[in-house]
């Protein structure tokens, strides 16, 4: 009898995990799409680059999704280049930096790097916007929530379009 209960519980957990996994896949897909769409509402300082560089630092939750999605696509009239970095030093000259760093300290370093180099920083990490990241994405109950640190954006000479701001929760200033 006890074994049967365990079997049922395992099956239920597997089902739940499968659901979560499917939801996560869907969120990742949306996130991958959103990265490009954010760029449409953002005005970055002109660096004279011929490409629009999206850099993903640390773990890649998208697999080949980003490459597939942006293959042959253009953002702001420029061909998209996807780069994957594991260290801050690898970020280089980017337009958009998607940060999946789990370590708060290194994540902050990435934020600071982005701020210094006028890079649009995006992450799903909690408190990302409050810490100086520009766009924080949350997926809650299959709903998208966007949090924007407008002060950080302005400090990085990045202008964010009103339509995007109208959707977002705007954070001003940076938490100590």
């Amino acid at each position: 009898m006890k074994n049967k209960v365990w079997v049922w519980m395992l099956l239920l957990a597997a089902q739940l995990c499968s659901g979560v996994a499917m939801a996560s896949q869907e969120e990742n897909k949306l996130m991958a799409v959103f990265l490009g769409r954010f760029a449409s509402y953002i005005e970055l300082p002109d660096r004279g680059s011929k490409h629009f560089v999206i850099t993903l630092i640390d773990e890649n939750p998208f697999g080949s999704l980003l490459d597939d999605l942006y293959l042959g696509k253009q953002i702001n009239g420029k061909p998209v280049v996807i780069r994957y970095a594991t260290k801050i030093e690898d970020i280089g000259q980017s337009d958009l930096l998607f940060i999946t760093l789990v370590n708060p300290r290194t994540r902050q370093e990435a934020i600071d790097y982005g701020a210094k180099n006028s890079i649009l920083t995006i992450s799903t990490a909690m408190g990302f916007a409050e810490r100086g990241g520009i766009i924080q994405l949350d997926f809650l109950q299959q709903q998208t929530r966007i949090k924007i640190n407008h002060t950080a954006a302005l400090k990085s000479n990045i202008r964010i379009g009103a339509p995007l701001l109208s959707l977002a929760t705007v954070v001003k200033g940076v938490a100590p």
């Binding site: 949306l30 769409r37 449409s40 709903q143 998208t144 959707l167």
Partner: protein
């Protein structure tokens, strides 16, 4: 009552009024159609403008699948009470966010949205490939469907539903105004028609009145005149010509009725009428009235010997002599073949006898030419004379007496005047 039974005045007023009313109705219908089209286009343009404005912000909500923001933004449409509903659909036409006005009927809105969704499905190419929206008016509502385009691609559609209240109100206001203006215009047209009809009816009534006057008075000397220089002038001219012709014919008929055609003297009938008048007046005024009756002596012989043309010439010559010898107040008439009657108004026996004798002597001196190379013919005439203050208005008594006197003149030798004497 038939139209043909109406007076010309009413016909003209009716024709002018109906013509103007027809023009007014056609103009009103055209204006109404143009206004409906204009108001319709304007209403749809406003709806599309509203959709365009809303779409700018809503694009981001759909782009980032932010349903909450989309719902919040759509809810701001509540400030426009005419908006019944708004729907954002994704690129697979699945509803993403919906707003329905609290004042709207939910079942109606659901039905309307279903109808528009079906249309949007039909126009998939227009929305997704051509990236062009569409708007139209349906029964009870109007709608606009805009593609939500992001980065050159249609990622969904925005559908706005609005009621037709403003459209109906504006059309109703226009119809009301049109009716009021039409009624006012018809009143003015009726007034103008009544004034204008006089231009046509006044000359007609003038002619009718003239005809009536002529019929009552038999006075054919009247004529009609107009200052108008149109067909009425021609009508008046022809009417005057016709009256002149009637006047001339009347005159000729009158002459024929009262005149002896051979001698030009008054005929018997005219003589009798004038004598009745003279007798009546003489009796009323107790004045004497004289009669002389002449008969050409042996006139039958003249006819037999010289022929009727000479006889006629004799009659003419005698008539001319009598006319010359008569006073202005006397009337000389031929009352028979060779018999003449002279009516001497206000003449006693002496004066009448004097006139008769003067006439007889003049006849005796008259020469009638019967042709070149022949001796002029001379004739004599006998005359009976009678004069008195009439005892009655019956002139036959006087006529019989003067006839009797003439008979005695004939009996007693001819070429003489004989007074009537009571036997």
């Amino acid at each position: 009552m038939k139209f043909s039974d109406l007076s010309i005045r009413l016909k003209l007023v009716a024709l002018l009024g109906v013509s103007a009313a027809m023009a007014l109705v056609v103009s009103a219908i055209l204006s109404l159609v143009l206004t409906v089209l204009s108001v319709r286009d304007e209403s749809l343009r406003h709806l599309r403008q509203t959709a365009d404005i809303a779409q700018d912000n809503l694009t981001a909500t759909l782009a980032f699948r932010d349903n909450a923001s989309a719902t919040r933004m759509l809810a701001s449409l509540a400030s426009n009470p005419r908006i019944l509903a708004a729907l954002i659909s994704d690129d697979e036409l699945q509803p993403f966010s919906t707003y329905v006005s609290p004042a709207a009927s939910q079942p109606d809105v659901a039905a309307y949205l279903a109808q528009v969704a079906a249309l949007a499905k039909e126009r998939h190419k227009q929305l997704h490939v051509e990236r062009e929206g569409f708007a139209s008016i349906a029964y009870g509502y109007m709608f606009a469907v805009n593609p939500i385009v992001f980065d050159g691609k249609t990622i969904g559609t925005l559908t706005l539903l609005s009621d037709n209240v403003i459209l109906k109100e504006r059309i109703s206001a226009f119809v009301l105004m049109q009716v009021l203006v039409s009624v006012l215009t018809l009143v003015i047209i009726a007034f103008i028609s009544i004034r204008l009809q006089r231009v046509f009816t006044t000359p007609i009534f003038h002619i009718i009145e003239t005809i009536r006057t002529i019929a009552q008075t038999k006075n054919y000397t009247v004529s009609v005149n107009t200052i108008q220089n149109d067909e009425f002038k021609v009508l008046y001219s022809h009417f005057n010509d016709m009256i002149a012709e009637i006047r001339e014919r009347d005159s000729q008929l009158s002459r024929l009725a009262t005149t002896d055609p051979l001698t030009g003297l008054a005929n018997r009938r005219n003589a009798m009428e004038v004598m009745q008048t003279m007798v009546t007046r003489a009796r009323r005024k107790q004045e004497p009235f004289g009669l002389v009756m002449f008969d050409i002596d042996h006139f039958k012989r003249v006819n037999d010997q010289y022929g009727h043309p000479v006889g006629d010439a004799v009659l003419k010559a005698v008539a001319a002599t009598l006319t010359r010898a008569a006073r202005e107040i006397d009337l000389v008439a031929r009352i028979g073949g060779e018999e003449f009657l002279v009516l001497c108004d206000n003449s006693d026996l002496k004066a009448t006898q004097h006139i008769a004798e003067r006439m007889r002597a003049a006849i005796e001196q008259t020469e009638v030419f019967c042709g070149s190379g022949t001796t002029p013919l001379k004739v004599t005439a006998s005359a009976g004379v009678y004069a008195s203050i009439p005892e009655s208005e019956d002139f036959e008594v006087s006529l019989a007496r003067v006839d009797a006197a003439l008979y005695r003149a004939k009996e007693t030798g001819r070429n003489k005047t004989v007074n009537w004497e009571e036997e």
